[in-house]
């Protein structure tokens, strides 16, 4: 009798934790949809005409999709590289993508169909450069950051330079250096939805291998996955889709870094089956709130519209520093 009772109790204890985690995810998704609805009515004008409403709807949807893709990419990169201090921005994917787009515009002009593909090439080149250099200098989590700083400086310097040269063709080139959503337009909707769906479809396939990757290559074989193959697939997916986002809205750093950490903290686990979707949801929510601030509050107090990416950086960078400090002092994680 006693053992049966104890067995049941322990069983419930563990099942409940997973159920709680799924409930938490659903709660955040609900909050996200509520915030999307509220965001439609936030703005500078009191009387909203249908055209403005339509623009806001497009913008809100694109902000959420962008946040979702960046949040998932961040958790993919952190798990695949076994490094909690990286995201698409730190690894240079963002600046690589942006500089290649600007180079393309300088030489051949603007094309909304081709630029995402150019961005993917640039983003992946920068990513693999960073990874190669980081592995050469030891492969620790700090070597990734050092290599990222180097690659980032190179490509963002290039992008900055090019943004002046292409100012006539693309007046927003400089603005995209600190990404924002002023340029939200209906033609980005379909590519963003497709990207988000592809990223979402890869999640059930990759979540378990990514959990196994956390244990180190030796044990991954044991669990039946080839670590090199899954690491490559994951990194490429994160690289490709964050590059596409960058080609539309520019450099939005730190959101992909912070969101997986918040998700892990709230879920009290590193299990990617929960962390990946929650990270995507939290990232979308945070980016949406930031964009609401950017286009309403700061406009209303007379500052004018600022790029959401700059607000994210101001909040995200201190968090990043806190993470580095805590890793050395063992406070957090």
């Amino acid at each position: 009798m006693d053992t049966i009772y104890r067995g049941l109790k322990e069983d419930r204890w563990s099942m409940n934790k997973d159920i709680q985690r799924i409930l938490m995810l659903l709660l955040f998704i609900a909050v996200l949809f509520f915030t999307m609805y509220v965001s439609l009515f936030i703005g500078s004008a009191e009387q909203v005409n249908p055209l403005v409403m339509k623009y806001r709807f497009t913008r809100v949807v694109e902000v959420v999709l962008t946040g979702f893709i960046l949040g998932i990419s961040g958790s993919y990169l952190q798990s695949a590289l076994r490094n909690p201090l990286v995201d698409h921005y730190i690894l240079g994917i963002g600046s690589g993508a942006l500089s290649s787009v600007y180079l393309f515009i300088l030489i051949l002009g603007i094309s909304h169909i081709v630029t995402p593909f150019v961005a993917i090439i640039g983003g992946l080149i920068a990513l693999f450069l960073t990874i190669t250099i980081a592995e050469i200098i030891g492969g620790s989590d700090i070597s990734y950051i050092l290599a990222g700083i180097g690659i980032n400086s190179l490509f963002s310097g290039l992008a900055y330079l090019l943004s002046f040269l292409i100012l006539v063709k693309n007046p927003y080139a400089l603005y995209l250096m600190a990404g924002g959503f002023t340029l939200a337009s209906p033609e980005y909707e379909i590519p963003l939805i497709v990207s988000a769906v592809i990223v979402l479809v890869t999640y059930p396939v990759l979540a378990k291998p990514l959990n196994a990757l956390l244990l180190g290559d030796e044990l991954v074989y044991q669990i039946g996955y080839d670590p090199r193959r899954y690491r490559l697939i994951t990194i490429i997916i994160a690289g490709v889709f964050s590059s596409i986002v960058v080609s539309y809205f520019g450099l939005i750093g730190f959101i992909g870094l912070v969101s997986p950490h918040i998700a892990r903290f709230l879920l009290k686990t590193s299990d990617n089956r929960f962390v990946i979707p929650l990270s995507g949801t939290i990232s979308a929510l945070l980016l949406l709130i930031t964009d609401d601030l950017a286009r309403s509050v700061l406009v209303n107090i007379g500052v004018g519209e600022v790029p959401a990416g700059s607000i994210v950086a101001v909040i995200g960078a201190p968090f990043f520093l806190l993470l580095i400090l805590s890793r050395y002092r063992g406070v957090l994680h």
């Binding site: 067995g7 069983d11 378990k208 956390l214 244990l215 180190g216 044991q222 669990i223 994680h333």
Partner: protein
Amino acid sequence: MSVRYKDVEAVRDVTLEIPVGRITCIIGPNGAGKTSLLRSISKITRFEGEIYLDGIEVSKTPLNTISRILSYSTSVYLPDLLSLKVIDVLKIARYPVSRRFFETREDLEIILDTAKEFKIDKFLEKKLSELSSGELQRVILAMAVIKNPKYLLLDEPDSHVDVANKAELINILRKLSKDRTIVLTTHDVLFASIVGDYFILMNKGRVLFAGDKQRFFENKNILEETYGTEFYEVRLGNVVIMVPLYILKKHID
């Protein structure tokens, strides 16, 4: 079969048969090729030749099929990445046999039972970094057993284990060997002679001896040549064990 690393040949033209349902000990000095042999059987290292497990050829079989019937476990450290907990790593270790995306009730019950068996059920919610090396060793063993593999390959399960825990380890291995084949490597001939049923002696990539306990004791001169020291047979009740003589000799001189 052979194993090559760039220009070093770790295992040279080895032909072996490992008996089913018993504990096989692979012994030999450092660099003998013990670990390479185990890693080849587990499809972690590439090899030349053929290895058959239950009639399937390892190099032609996908990794996830092998991972369902075989566990390879090594005493290397487990990283405490992103604050992994004991319960997390046990869940991960069961992936090859759990069919659903999330663990079923049955999976969780097996995880809890195994944790109890290895006396790690008290710290399922602890982070890996908070465990002692003995506790970590038990977690690693539990991870190898949790998918209930037919073949259990253990690379030096007795390293980082103190004398008291070694006795416990021998009990666990005996219990585990009841319904599966265990192959382990060790440096400790004494430990091997207590726990093993079948012995393989390797040196410099070659197999010098393979046979059961009786033949192993009869051929102890090969062992003595390999290690360059004499071994004593000590009878304790109905168990015969092998003690290296240098331990005594050093103190006599």
